[in-house]
Amino acid sequence: MNPHESNHEPLLEIKNLKKYFEIKGGGALGRKKQTLKAVDDVSFEIYKGETLGLVGESGCGKSTLGRNILRLQDPTSGEVVYDQKNILDYTKKEMRALRKDMQIIYQDPFGSLNPRFTIGQIIGEMYEIHGIARGKEKEKKVKELLELVGLDPQRYHSYPHEFSGGQRQRVGIARALALQPEFIVADEPVSALDVSVQSQVINLLIELKKEMGLTLLFIAHGLNVVRHISDRVGVMYLGKLVELSDTDSIFNEPAHPYTAALLSTVPEADPEARKERIVLKGEVPSPASPPSGCNFRTRCPLATERCSQEAPAWQETRNGHFTACHYPLEKGQTLKDAIKQRKEQPEKNTNNLIMA
């Protein structure tokens, strides 16, 4: 059923990845240490040649996950298997060589470019670092790249501040593409841009991806942004992956209540189509003190006693559709129906107290 299951081999396997931060604070002298679980036991595969969208609210750990996969931060534990080897075991030197194959595009087109370098230097660094090209040859390669991402090669000697946000983001893309990597993490590449420029940059990414056969992990905080570009979509909540499936399945038949609630708030282009919007109550809890059991239970309209006691396992509920929920929605069932159903035949001890 799911074409990715059979036809695609995994490029990267992420197994039980955890990234915990120790934060000081609390206690009389601020000595009590707390553990912030930014990424908590996340496992999934990224298939060769696919675009995997990763969405979640701010602070849910999606950017941290992206950085940990690239080892820009060192994960607390887990595995990232690339080419049958766990890259978390790589030495610094091996890792530096591997960086040719894995690149990142940043969210902030201002902070991610060195203000003292010309864009020629910024992109040319990629060749110099790996000893691929210097001088005239480097300049030629960089100018080709600038053309590829839709920038005027004449601006080789311009500084980043002479460009607009969208143009700078193109510089960032050119830099990521310079070494012809196999895998790119795009960390909210369009969030900082004007809506009019967003679609240009997304289309550029789609085109380049096709042309160069890239595999993309596309991080965004809104579902509508990833829909257009992704083959599969993963949804994160409070450090955990709660749902992962191919794009159509996520958008048409979400299994996790959180995804369903998110989807109900995505604006529809058709004014006739009336949707029941489900607004989640409350705030996202602090990742430093997540709720017991299921992370989402404090805001979940379907939560029961069971949700506060045991954390739901990450399992394949349908073919190729992974969810972490005790009460996943069935195919074709809307969240509204599920809530209604729950009211009619409540499980022993519904979690209404917590909800109120």
């Binding site: 690239l70 820009l72 890792m95 530096r96 060589a97 591997l98 960086r99 040719k100 690149q103 990142i104 940043y106 902030d108 902070g111 991610s112 470019l113 060195n114 203000p115 003292r116 660094e125 990629m126 670092i129 790996h130 501040h161 002479e162 460009f163 607009s164 946000g165 969208g166 143009q167 830099r175 009019s196 420029v197």
Partner: protein
Amino acid sequence: MLGASLKEDVNQAEPQEEKRRFVLLTRLKQNKVAFFSLWFLLIVHFVVFVGPVLWPLSPDELTDVGALAPWTLQHPFGTDDLGRDVFARMLHGGRVTLLVGLCAMLFSLIIGTIIGACAGFFGKVVESILMRITEAMMAIPNFFFVLVALTVLGTTPVMVVVVIALTGWVEIARVVYGETLKWKEYEFVEAANAAGASARRILLKYVVPQILPSIIVSGTLAIAWAILTESAISYLGLGIQPPTPTWGNMLQNSQQYIWTAPILGVLPGVAITIVVLAYNFLGDGLRDALDPRFAKK
């Protein structure tokens, strides 16, 4: 419409940011005292380093007009207690004093930048060790350290430079450390890491150039301190020894004649004061010019 907004963007960005160096100079110009100090120092350095080549008299040879001679055209500042030309001695002494100041400052900058940048950039154990050393140095009173070290190690010009530099780097290290901590968090630094750059390359090409303005400010203040320290230890007889003239040992030498020939003490004293003051003004001015809140003033 999109094209228009892009162009607008570009036009706005350019005059705003320019290159930071030029911004620094324009801002410095607005601070009259600092800008005047800059010119004054340039002139003093020119006179002191080029002057001895043009002025025919040697600072060591005795003249035929005798000791403590009055000011004449031939000897603009007269002669000292041994009958040597004071003008020549001021030029040569200034050269030594300023050179000691410059060299000590350079050494301080090198040590301070390396220690501060490494501590900030590498963190963990490196940071703990280097910053504890820095703090330990801060706990030792600088002047006594200099006195003791020079008494033990001897008072050759090189030693004087080294010992002054060994006390001067601490402040610089702390400034550089703080700045490194700030800049290493920038995404373009992480991007260099993601590109596979070595730690050394990231530190030297990405982090240190951003700190350069702060280093320059620290350097100006370090020179002032080095000159003052050199003069102070010379005055105590522990600095560079006669007959090599420095403004400090000229000051010391003039003590006995303070009533008979006060000008012998006033000249080096005033020279030291003005130069140190000018360096301090310049350093303060540079610091203000680099302050991002500058525009509000």
